[in-house]
Symmetry: C2
Subunit: 430 residues, 2 copies
């Protein structure tokens, strides 16, 4: 690689503008560490005149990012737009085809098109790096690809979305409802002001799990149908009950090889309050890997925000400036295999079930009989009457049962007039 490196940044949102500023500040430090002089020669964003945290040089501004490749000799492109398709995809493909290295924090793009893009990068002998796409500032991808290379990893899981973890923690601390806390998260910049849906419904964590699986198990990115649930149905009441039971609700992403098949999921879990994972609170992310010979290895850090994200983007930059061409997924596209999906129906968990029922004789036995019929045995049951409203709340913790079994068992409660609300189900983690 030559000594003067031309850089383009496309997308000047929170992350892009922070990165722009960091690159300007840390030029000297980067030269000291790599011997390369970097220069930002082109930037692009939707709006040239938007008010930004740091001022930009308008001389190098492009309205159409694709024009950059025609006008400038770029060595490294930062794609900070964040779409899974559209201009993000076109831009990255164009760059790779022009033998330009690409760095991106775009998990949606990588989770969807990572395989093809890595093939393209390998073909053109350039780097495609995406450390910032998973767990913000935690250098988790590099750790899997390099620090734990040659380990046989069989499980990777954790708290992968800072927004939802913040909301769950904050609901517990303040006793405020989901909607109130969501508003607060949006004000603080933790949740998207316009559309927080991708964080809340588990999709964001899920894209990260797809990427983690591919890296951990050296497989193609899976397209398996999976259990993906967010936190939209978690009510303050569930958090309070969990608290009384010594439990805490966490949105976990889990990826595991079970009997040579791949199992991936994202859903809220009840975890013990005195476990490690039960104490990762606020916007923190945590990833736990289990493998041989390493045993258990755990990384924790801030999972969101322009600072940590920028830290990861710069680690990618240094890796490119220092080193050879690396396989985007640690191993050639052609050597990574697809892996069959574990049958989700056979996923087993203890369950937390919260029923709201009419306070009538026989309702409890209706529920317990139904559970018994499906051989779901009860570990704990707490019935709390609400005399005034002639209602009652029944919370049941079951022993382990399969997904399909619990689904079939509970289906009947959809249309029973004594069951006021289809039961809230939260899985217990192990």
């Amino acid at each position: 690689m030559k000594n003067n490196i031309n850089i383009a940044i496309v997308g000047l949102g929170q992350v892009g503008i922070y990165l722009y500023n960091e690159l300007n500040i840390k030029k000297k430090d980067i030269e000291k560490k790599t011997g390369k002089k970097i220069k930002i020669v082109a930037i692009s964003a939707k709006n040239k005149d938007k008010k930004r945290k740091f001022s930009i040089s308008k001389k190098i501004f492009y309205k159409n990012p694709l024009q950059i490749f025609k006008k400038e000799k770029i060595d490294i492109l930062f794609e900070c737009i964040g779409l899974s398709d559209g201009i993000s995809k076109i831009l990255v493909e164009t760059a790779l085809n022009n033998k330009i290295n690409v760095i991106t924090p775009n998990k949606a793009l990588i989770a969807k098109h990572g395989d093809n893009l890595s093939k393209l990068a390998e073909k053109n002998k350039v780097n495609l790096e995406f450390e910032a796409s998973v767990a913000g500032g935690i250098p988790i991808l590099r750790t899997i690809k390099e620090g734990l290379a040659t380990n046989k990893i069989y499980k990777v899981y954790g708290i992968l979305n800072g927004t939802t973890n913040y909301i769950l923690s904050e609901m517990e601390i303040t006793n405020e409802t989901f909607n109130k806390v969501l508003l607060k998260a949006q004000k603080l910049g933790y949740a998207e002001p316009g559309n927080p849906k991708l964080d809340l419904n588990g999709f964001d964590a899920f894209a990260k799990i797809r990427i983690l699986s591919a890296l951990s198990f050296n497989t193609r990115i899976s397209k398996n149908k999976c259990i993906m649930e967010g936190i939209e149905n978690i009510e303050l009441e569930d958090i309070k009950i969990a608290n009384q039971l010594g439990l805490r609700i966490k949105l976990l992403g889990i990826s595991e090889i079970i009997k040579n098949k791949l199992f991936e999921t994202v859903h809220p879990c009840l975890v013990n309050k005195n476990t490690y994972i039960g104490n990762v609170n606020g916007v923190m992310n945590a990833v736990i890997m289990e493998g041989k010979p390493i045993g258990e290895c755990l990384l924790q850090g801030e999972g969101a925000g322009p600072g940590p994200t920028s830290s990861s983007l710069l680690s990618d930059l240094l890796s490119i400036l220092k080193g050879n061409i690396k396989y985007p997924f640690g191993m050639s596209y052609y050597k990574r295999k697809s892996v069959k999906a574990f049958n989700n129906n056979n996923y087993k968990n203890s369950l937390y079930l919260r029923f709201e029922v009419k306070d009538r004789q026989g309702v409890l036995s209706l529920i317990t009989n139904r559970l018994a019929k499906y051989k779901i045995s009860v570990k704990r049951i707490i019935q709390t009457p609400d005399k005034k409203n002639k209602k009652a709340r029944i919370v049941i913790i079951t022993h382990k049962t399969t997904e399909i079994n619990s689904k079939n068992c509970l289906s009947i409660f959809k249309k029973n007039k004594n069951i006021l609300k289809f039961p809230t189900l939260i899985r217990l983690y192990n």
Copy 2:
């Protein structure tokens, strides 16, 4: 780098023999990931015929490791002997001078001679890698050098010695004395059967702190005089009292830049039981880094044993097989600066003091007057009489005071006839 890579392993103790076996098993996997064919062409150890966990090929055995360089063309040497000087040092120097890459888990060697050896490696344009020297399987050095490159780290600390952490945890759980638990640790292979001193007196953790400082702050390895204390003076009684106070004793290594000066230390700390660090138990290690823009980043994993160590040695191997020549300390020897030492006398902590005294009038006031004279204010005091033996135990938790002040204050108690034992002092962690 050529495609066929010749490897030599010197030292076939627990780590060396495990590595030997792993390399044989993982040849194919390594070729898949790097395109390089590795071959172990030479091994050496003190005793050819010692009983080992895996059998060795005697055809490639060398009694004198230095002979290897004369007989074989070696590309990568694993130094697994573990001395800070002597044959370890000569071997590594000879290899580097012969343009052979070196990988070692030898923290004593690196902490003492790392600067000179890195200069030698840079001069000869080969790699010197030592990921396994700190925190066993946790890829902490790579994380600092690569994953967090361009961050400004200002503090790194943690539990860096698995043996002592196991002993402290086990004493708390079993209520057994230090000596009993040490024996158990030796039986389990956690502590050296012959000489566990370097683990117990803090030296092992301290060597790791020296290496972490140099990498985190981009400085030369410091030779500053430091506070280094082990766990030899921790008694079961202290662990029990800590427990009652909601605290737990941990041997922490701490390195920090305070007002542009370097502060490094290893000593037992009282930490809150409900903090993260208070719950890293058994042989686990944990390293916490604080920096900008990353915030706090935390890594945890098994800190000892041939499996985790071998995981790190192999990550070094893959890094060499995949990449360019890298600076051993992430930056050229010539660009790393020395940094002045923080004055240890000014190190401030709350203190736990346990006095054993004669049960006589005036002894308590003797102690409290002395503390008052040195302006050490008392936060908590617990006096427990032992009428039968005409003794009493006085435990005092103080507010923050400096090292020099507490030293001067306590000195008087060495020769007081009413003080049966010079007070046990344990610092509280912030």
